[in-house]
């Protein structure tokens, strides 16, 4: 038999297709122990323990509850960013969208809009910005990394154009609920919304046809297109949702701060991408879990909260987060390289 014969014989051969995919060996629990999420959980636990030793104020339920504020907004954006990165794209304009949505809300509040109107304006402006990104990337086929670098400047530039060096501060009193209110005991509105959206995102990504399509596109957009997936339409929806999530984050952040400046949420895009990548989503697309992203969001929140209690300046926190990003990603690769190295002959 020549190799050509076996190759041509393959399609009609009666060899049974394997029931398990080779990378899914082992029991469910054993697989979980080796997974990225387990590693992240260990990291989170270590940070939690270290924090509780480092500061006497850490293990206070109200402090912990307040600690959720400084990462829930970013985490909500990270949920939608996870979908975009899984589809092989990236959205660097989320910070710009937050700025322009917040500016629109500020202008409306200045003109005397009511609280529901303000929320609607924030969400609609966010969704419109997302639409614009979606049109550029899905409609006109621009590479998302440069298209969203452009829209990032454009959106934030519009905020600067409207506000200059001024700010909007006259928000109605009821508006502060979205960023500062509690829905039950110490569970804040922001935190509850994040948990709810995380469940929705997990169901959509892991249990729906749409989620499967997103990962298929990230794995191989050409194969996905030839399999009959509407790649452009799905990508458009993803960017629209990302804009909507940024609009929601803008509502929460503006409500929490009670003011709008054009520099609001500056640099958030990098923090959000860091959460997603730390959560084990492949930056090249195709794989990742919402569970990982949620744990990564908690890791980030715990680190910044713990360091904040120790009076560490923000820029030092960013070094820690940057180093953590590289170490957490490099460590398994390094370990695999070392274990796979052929042993020297004796």
């Amino acid at each position: 038999m020549t190799t050509i014969d076996t190759r041509t014989a393959l399609p009609t051969s009666t060899v049974a297709m394997p029931r398990a995919i080779p990378d899914q060996t082992g029991s469910g629990f054993g697989r979980f122990l080796k997974s990225w999420e387990a590693l992240l959980l260990v990291v989170a636990a270590l940070i939690f323990i270290a924090n509780s030793f480092a500061s006497p104020f850490f293990l206070d339920i109200w402090n912990l509850s307040d600690a959720t504020f400084n990462f829930t907004e970013k985490s909500i954006v990270a949920l939608s960013m996870a979908f975009i990165i899984m589809s092989g794209e990236i959205d660097l304009s989320v910070g710009g969208i937050i700025a322009v949505a917040s500016t629109a809300m500020g202008a409306a509040a200045h003109a005397g809009a009511s609280v529901p109107e303000l929320v609607a304006i924030g969400l609609v402006v966010g969704a419109l910005c997302g639409c614009f990104n979606g049109l550029l990337i899905a409609g006109l086929g621009l590479p998302s990394i440069v298209a969203t670098i452009g829209t990032m400047s454009l959106f934030r530039g519009i905020s600067y154009l409207v506000l200059g060096d001024g700010s909007y501060k006259d928000y109605p009193t009821g508006f502060s609920f979205f960023g500062q209110g509690y829905v039950w005991q110490m569970i804040s509105f922001e935190f509850a919304t994040f948990l709810l959206l995380a469940v929705v995102a997990a169901v959509v990504l892991h249990k729906s046809v749409f989620g499967r399509a997103v990962r298929a596109i990230g794995n191989n957009p050409f194969a996905a297109r030839f399999s009959g997936l509407r790649v452009g339409r799905i990508k458009f929806i993803l960017f629209l949702v990302s804009g909507l999530a940024s609009g929601l984050a803008a509502v929460m952040l503006t409500s929490r701060l009670g003011s709008t400046r054009p520099s609001i949420a500056a640099g958030w895009e990098l923090d959000v991408v860091t959460i997603v990548v730390l959560g084990g989503v492949n930056i090249l697309g195709g794989s990742g879990t919402i569970g990982g992203v949620v744990i990564a969001a908690f890791v980030m929140g715990l680190v910044t909260y713990g360091l904040g209690l120790l009076n560490v300046p923000g820029i030092i926190m960013s070094i820690v987060i940057g180093a953590m990003l590289i170490t957490v990603i490099a460590a398994p690769i390094l370990a695999r390289k070392i274990s796979n190295r052929p042993r020297p002959a004796r």
Binding site: L142, M152, R156, L270
Partner: protein
């Protein structure tokens, strides 16, 4: 038909397609821009002012050349501005502590530190196969944070810098500042490296098709590493140039400048997907941004509008690039079918 089929004709068609039209287009865009400004403000287009614009854009041009090398290999370097800030902080602290240290030593420190920071990025990309965007996202915050750790958040001001430290970029040779001469020298150096050396060829090959490059005996990882070293060294040099030109060093120096640099490359026709780009295009892309930045205050546009305008220009430029690249792809297919049908 036979003319197209001959290999020399295809080769020349390729250089014409990927290089010349982009540069001519950009040159035309710059000329139209200058003509529009000159219609109302003739003072802007005097040779002296244009030399000023070039001098003002020099750092952007030089950084864009480094970034172009990285993007050519299908990577991205988000850490250039942070590298610049850290190197600038280190040399200005050194200069403040030892005012009589020769300026050559300081420049060598800047180049060496920039190279080390770039090599760190490159090693992570090469040896650990971490995607460049993740690596440089991490080192971006680390490098800028280190500038804070070193300075404790304090500024190094002009009175702490020695006259030699401040004077070098401003010194005039043939009525043109040294800063401009450095930019011209770097353009020359980049032209040689990109077009006349094996490493330049390796950059193009790696970005064009990493697998094919590997089979052709090029190590794509090593090519990426070299590109990051090139970009890092350049960022280090620019660190010194930046702090001495603006006579101040602080942690947030050049904050967000990495995106301007990437924008200059993209406007200049460097494909974000790798493998396509030229030194001339990159320089013109940076100059285009520089002209707009310098012209906006002259034509009485509010400085607050600048960000929105540059964002709109980046989107428009990317739009044009993607269109032209798509057309180029079709021509490649047509030529290969002609070639395969009639081998010469």
């Amino acid at each position: 038909m036979s003319a197209i089929a001959s290999p020399t004709a295809t080769a020349s068609a390729r250089t014409r397609r990927t290089g010349l039209p982009r540069e001519v287009l950009l040159l035309g865009a710059c000329a139209i821009l200058l003509a529009l400004i000159a219609a109302r403000f003739p003072g802007f287009v005097t040779p002296a002012n244009l030399a000023n614009v070039f001098n003002d854009t020099s750092i952007l041009i030089v950084l864009a050349l480094g970034q172009a090398a990285v993007i050519l290999t299908r990577s991205i370097d988000l850490s250039v501005a942070a590298n610049l800030a850290l190197t600038g902080m280190v040399v200005s602290l050194l200069g403040a502590a030892h005012p009589d240290m020769p300026i050559v030593v300081l420049v060598l420190v800047a180049l060496g530190l920039g190279l080390a920071l770039g090599a760190f990025n490159g090693l992570l990309v090469w040896k650990l196969d971490i995607p460049p965007i993740v690596v440089t996202l991490g080192t971006l915050t680390i490098y800028r944070g280190m500038a804070f750790v070193l300075s404790g958040g304090a500024w190094v001001n002009s009175f702490q810098m020695s006259p030699a430290f401040l004077g070098l970029p401003r010194a005039l040779i043939l009525d043109i500042p040294v800063l401009s001469w450095i930019a011209l020298a770097m353009i020359g150096l980049a032209l040689v490296i990109f077009n006349r050396t094996s490493i330049g060829r390796a950059w193009f090959a790696t970005g064009g098709n990493p697998v094919a490059a590997l089979y052709a005996g090029i190590d794509p990882g090593r090519a990426r590493f070299m590109a990051f070293c090139f970009s890092g060294t350049i960022a280090g040099l620019c660190g010194y140039l930046w702090v001495s030109r603006y006579a101040v060093a602080y942690v947030d120096v050049a904050s967000g400048f990495e995106l301007d640099v990437i924008a200059a490359c993209v406007i200049g026709g460097v494909s974000i997907a790798g493998g396509i780009g030229s030194v001339g295009g990159t320089v013109l892309g940076a100059l285009f941004l520089g002209i707009i930045k310098n012209a906006l205050p002259v034509v009485n546009v509010s400085p607050f509008a600048q960000m929105a305008i540059s964002g709109a220009i980046i989107i428009a430029a990317v739009l044009l690039n993607t269109r032209s690249e798509r057309k180029a792809g079709r021509i490649i297919l047509r030529n290969t079918t002609v070639l395969s049908g009639k081998p010469t």
